[in-house]
Amino acid sequence: MRNIFLFIRRFFHLLLFLALEGLAIYTISKYNKTHQAFFASVSNEVTGSISEKYNRVEYYFRLKKTNEQLANENANLRRMLGSSFEGPDTAKATVIDSLAKDTLGVRKFNFLVAKVVNNSVSQENNYITVHRGAKQGVKVDMGVIGPDGIVGKVIFVSDNYSRIMSILNRKSRVSAMLQKGLYTGDLEWDGKDPDYFTLSKIPKSAKVQKGDTVLTSNVSEKLSFPPGVMVGRVAEISTDPSSNFYTLRVKSATNFYTLQYVYLADNLLWEEQSLLEAKTPKD
């Protein structure tokens, strides 16, 4: 026993060094898997409030750009309005609508607006902080879209702030499809240029051209992105002769440098869908 104490005293610094390194490595490995770190919610509140103070200054200088973005988005939405389209009237008889229910369907997505307070593009793994948290209805795994296209997904929430894993993150993977032909592939980021993503696993039977539109796909497992949200446009097509798939370089629709407002997509039917999917027999 005495020898153990002597040993500890002799190598105290080395042991402390190893213990602290072990703690740090444990933190990073646990975080990489589950995105849970100790003091996560406390630290999120603190860094969030500091970021918000910084953003108050930064936001002022970007007002012009943000305004332009939001105005463009409004114009796009207006173009989709029913009153913007006109065709010859094809109705033949008067039909009395006796349905008690709204025929347009059930609401599936609700959008919550949130202010971006911290955003990075220069790291290997980029995260975004927004000023809206659990108290304001944010839940983990919500899909996040910006005025121009997709942004990422919520990975953890504290009371008033939430942390978003940006698409500009080595760990992010989103299902996306080509608008022409609805071919689905995996959207990732290679860590090089914040303006470009990589879309892989598009079969060679797809007729891809430069400039084709890429949208979020109809099937998204856990990520509740609304289908058909703009992702970007095909910038470069490369074929791998050994496989049957294309790898596409996609120019991002979202400008991550000037992001100020995002929408968090709340999938209201997700619970029902996941319960049903959980019932599927696994054999």
Binding site: L20, A24, R170
Partner: protein, 178 residues
């Protein structure tokens, strides 16, 4: 200004500069990342005990991590350089004086050449460790070599500029030394 107050201010200042100035710089290239925050550990006074030094480095790294959103990533290299620092200082400190008369490492207290060696070695070690942790998650060997080399060069330039801008007065640790 007392040493504790000065170092507390530096602690906050370095983290804020790294998080809100250097990390906001648009990326020039995949390899080039301006990193300066670890200079805080290089500037800590001689008098701190080795165990306290490591604990401070761990807390400092963790604070940095919470701003970048990757807990653990910056603490690993910070603890490493805090562990290596006393060994390096033992070798580099001028041997003829039995008692050191300056409070913290600087080009004045160590001499210009030993101080630059001290900075270069610890910067390289920090970046190598940081990029190694990133490299274990993704990337290839070229990425590792390229990023360590490029980031070390940028960091050394930044440290040089910082030393030029903020000339630290070589304060004597005790009055008795004179």
């Amino acid at each position: 200004m007392s040493g504790l107050l000065k170092n507390t201010i530096r602690f906050i200042f370095f983290i804020l500069v790294q998080a809100y100035v250097l990390d906001k710089v648009p990326p020039l290239h995949e390899y080039v990342k301006p990193i300066l925050y670890f200079l805080f550990i290089l500037w800590l006074p001689f008098g701190i005990s080795r165990s306290l030094l490591m604990i401070i480095a761990f807390a400092f790294g963790l604070c940095m991590d919470y701003f970048t959103g990757t807990p653990g990533l910056h603490s690993i290299p910070c603890i490493l350089i805090a562990y290596v620092r006393p060994f390096l200082l033992n070798i580099l400190l001028p041997q003829e004086t039995t008692e050191l008369s300056y409070s913290e490492p600087s080009s004045k207290s160590l001499g210009a050449a030993p101080y630059s060696i001290y900075v270069i070695i610890l910067t390289f070690l920090h970046h190598a460790c940081l990029v190694l942790v990133e490299w274990l998650q993704f990337g290839d060997f070229i990425f590792f070599i390229g990023k360590v080399a490029a980031s070390t060069a940028v960091s050394l330039l930044l440290i040089f500029i910082t030393e030029m801008l903020f000339t630290r007065k070589g304060k004597y640790r005790t009055n008795a030394a004179i």
